[in-house]
Symmetry: C2
Subunit: 464 residues, 2 copies
């Protein structure tokens, strides 16, 4: 019998522990979780917070009792404070009683997750200022909404958590302003897609200020706050800071585990780190991007679950492989669905991949069918080969599950010509005869052909 | 300048004519259409009929004037009565004035479509008995609904037109009974999927009788009708016969054009028939199935449009290729979406493909998110290789656009293992962490592994 220790008990950690126990029922599987919860659906927090009738506890997937029933030695409120990877020992603080013990391991899985970026802005410690990462963060915010009954909110950061929370707080009746330092919302999405997000926010009464830097959060008398920016002051009652996350890698570093270029833990396809016996998975770890072949850091629940499974299996002696990520990300903001997969044209260019881009617009359903709305697609394809490199979509309708077709095409290395020939489902309630996916591919194929003709003509001119 | 004649002016025919004219603007492109309309969205008829406020004319995509503006010589109410492929001449009757003329061609595109199967049941000529194929059929039915105000309908045939019309007529307040000769609704779908369709019909107040043969339609006094079956009599006011279609190939046959095993026109990848200069496209023609590699006849609007484009381009001298079909079909009945792609286990078996099947059930959205409902998936994968062979899905939620992921996987020849590794979009409003597609692939992968182990064990026993 050997012992597998998992540090972190949310998506990746619990997947790892469950998988390890399933593979090696006789092994001792220990989960160290510094918080009071394990295995909760963090992505559901914005929607839960929106509904006063629900409690955040609804998001708990497995109770501690469930976990222990699986034969896992779960230690809640236990913080791993150090790893001696030579002796294979984790130093663990019991946060309840204050004692420190050493736990030895044969295999260790680091599933330490990510932590919200706290920008160097004075006043983020004020009452009424929140982040949203752990279940306890959500509980604190939701309790504040119920008790202080704030009327106004400022969300700092227009990433997808910011967008989801804009919807959530607006739906609870707050006046919401989103402040973003970059010159568009949802950085990482093409401007034409971001413009549709801005439009959706506006249609639903959310103010958006881009290209604005927050300088301080100040008290404004009573329970009020002021968000001071380089473009003026925003009076508010609540501030949500959602400017992204960074990987929690302090423990890894202390254990001599190498980080990658992204700053997250470098892993191989089996989620092994450079240190023998030490694995990493989830939001603290990198993943290989299937389009570029390079390590990337795109912290997401789906990836965390899948990586956790592989790390747990391999910690238990298996040789499973994580297939990598396509960079698929999706979110909903009010009635608008937004999603992307693969590389943007900008990302491709920075990797030396020469792409042609195409923008198209096609209804989500057959003309005349109720709820037929335009879906906008941007598509990047490799010049010369025609291989799909990435796609983004936004519209009021089924968008994310259409992006999945592109994600599948990326995994298979399909060209836009092959995409255009796909036999996709059609009936008036869910697609026009030519699905937006097919139209996007057709437009890209034509742009590739035009580019090739132009190139041939240029070569001809040079030759003359 | 040469002349391209297209027989049939709906999906395939208009696509062919438009494409030909675009490729060769100086060519003479003639469309012969026996009906009074061209280019209408036939698939929209059930939804249009459902809504008394709309007229069937809404489904017309291009008016005759639009078509003529494209420089196409459109001849409505002109019936092609014969083709002499030796002399390259079509005999054409002007149904308005009764004259017959000969039109010669350099290239001919047969887009004659399909015609409803009229089962040998006495009484199908009675007032109140309808089929639904052409726009004029829809107009006749809709007018009857408005004028005769029938209270009861019997739909003969539980294919997807029957299902869509059950919803349509039920939504208009009629008491609807569906009668199907086979022992399940939607033949061509797996029984577990068909059971969900039956359930949806029942939940919405539609009676379903399977394994019942209609023997006659009789007058029952007043405007009433009686549908006599081998299991008793059904009193009704309206009967819709929707027992499928057959390809219209009389003209092709007269021209010496060879039919395939399916009874539809045999074509190559360029939509060429065996007769030089004669192409065929749409519901009258076969297509290559990308999984089996065999010719199939699956008449659908999407295929008709795509084949028409290829036929038109090639009639104009190009060498375009139609990539084939995956057998993707989808429909909605009330709140249930149903779709399939690829081969069923039964179809695979008949082709000598040894498959393992898997049934799975996974919510459409994250647990706790409003509208999270189970989606049922059946999946067939090739024993040994693990290659995806086909999939079917049904559920209240996004189903058809999930089937598209399987359709893409079929085109790329992916295994279920590769499917399981896909980086699909995830956020609570549109998927659980493990999308139904991924769960279906995982269940299939496990069943394949179990089958392989069983086989290995059997070999071991034999070897002993």
């Amino acid at each position: 019998m050997s012992r597998i220790v998992v540090i972190g008990g949310v998506a990746a950690g619990m997947s790892a522990a469950s998988q390890a126990k399933r593979r090696q029922p006789d092994d001792d599987v220990v989960v160290l979780e510094r918080g009071p919860y394990v295995s909760y659906a963090a992505c559901g927090m914005p929607y839960n917070i929106e509904d006063p009738a629900r409690t955040l506890d609804d998001l708990v997937v497995l109770t501690p009792a469930d976990v222990r029933e699986r034969g896992i030695d779960l230690r809640l409120r236990h913080r791993a404070s150090g790893v001696d990877s030579g002796r294979r020992v984790v130093t663990v603080q019991d946060l309840e009683v204050g004692t420190t013990v050493e736990v030895d391991y044969d295999a260790l899985v680091l599933a330490t997750g990510a932590t919200p970026v706290q920008p160097p802005i004075p006043g983020l410690d004020k009452r009424g200022v929140f982040v949203l990462r752990q279940l306890t963060d959500g509980q604190a915010l939701k309790q504040h909404l119920a008790e202080a009954r704030p009327a106004r909110a400022v969300i700092v950061g227009a990433g997808y958590i910011g967008m989801e929370m804009a919807e959530s707080l607006r739906s609870r009746g707050l006046a919401v302003t989103v402040v973003e330092r970059m010159d568009q919302v949802t950085p990482g999405f093409d401007p034409v897609i971001a413009a549709l997000v801005t439009d959706a926010l506006g249609r639903h009464g959310v103010s958006v200020e881009t290209g604005v830097a927050v300088q301080a959060v100040e008290e404004a008398g009573g329970d009020g706050l002021t968000v001071r920016t380089d473009r003026g002051c925003l009076p508010t009652d609540v501030v949500l800071v959602a400017v992204g996350v960074r990987p929690r890698v302090e423990l890894a570093r202390s254990a001599g585990v190498a980080l990658g270029e992204t700053g997250a833990i470098a892993v191989d396809d089996g989620m092994r780190t450079n240190v023998p016996g030490v694995f990493a998975a989830g939001d603290c770890a990198e993943a290989r991007h299937i389009v570029s072949g390079r390590p990337v850091w795109i912290p997401l629940g789906t990836t965390a679950n899948k990586q956790g499974k592989v790390a747990g299996a391999n910690a238990a002696g298996a040789t499973e492989v994580f297939a990598g990520v396509a960079g698929t990300v999706g979110f909903k903001v009010f009635d608008l669905e937004v999603a992307r997969t693969g590389l943007t044209a900008t990302e491709a260019a920075s990797l030396g991949i020469d792409v042609v881009t195409a923008v198209s617009r096609q209804p989500s359903r057959a003309r005349g069918y109720p709820g037929a709305n335009p879906i906008t697609t941007t598509l990047a394809a490799e010049r010369g080969t025609g291989r799909l490199i990435g796609a983004q979509m936004a519209g009021v309708g089924v968008v994310a599950k259409r992006i999945d077709v592109f994600a599948t095409a990326l995994a298979a290395g399909l060209t836009v010509e092959a995409l255009e020939a796909l036999d996709l489902s059609y009936a008036p309630p869910f697609a026009p005869v030519y699905d937006p996916v097919l139209v996007a591919a057709a437009v890209a194929r034509k742009r590739l052909q035009a580019a090739a003709r132009k190139e041939a003509a240029a070569v001809g001119r040079v030759g003359r």
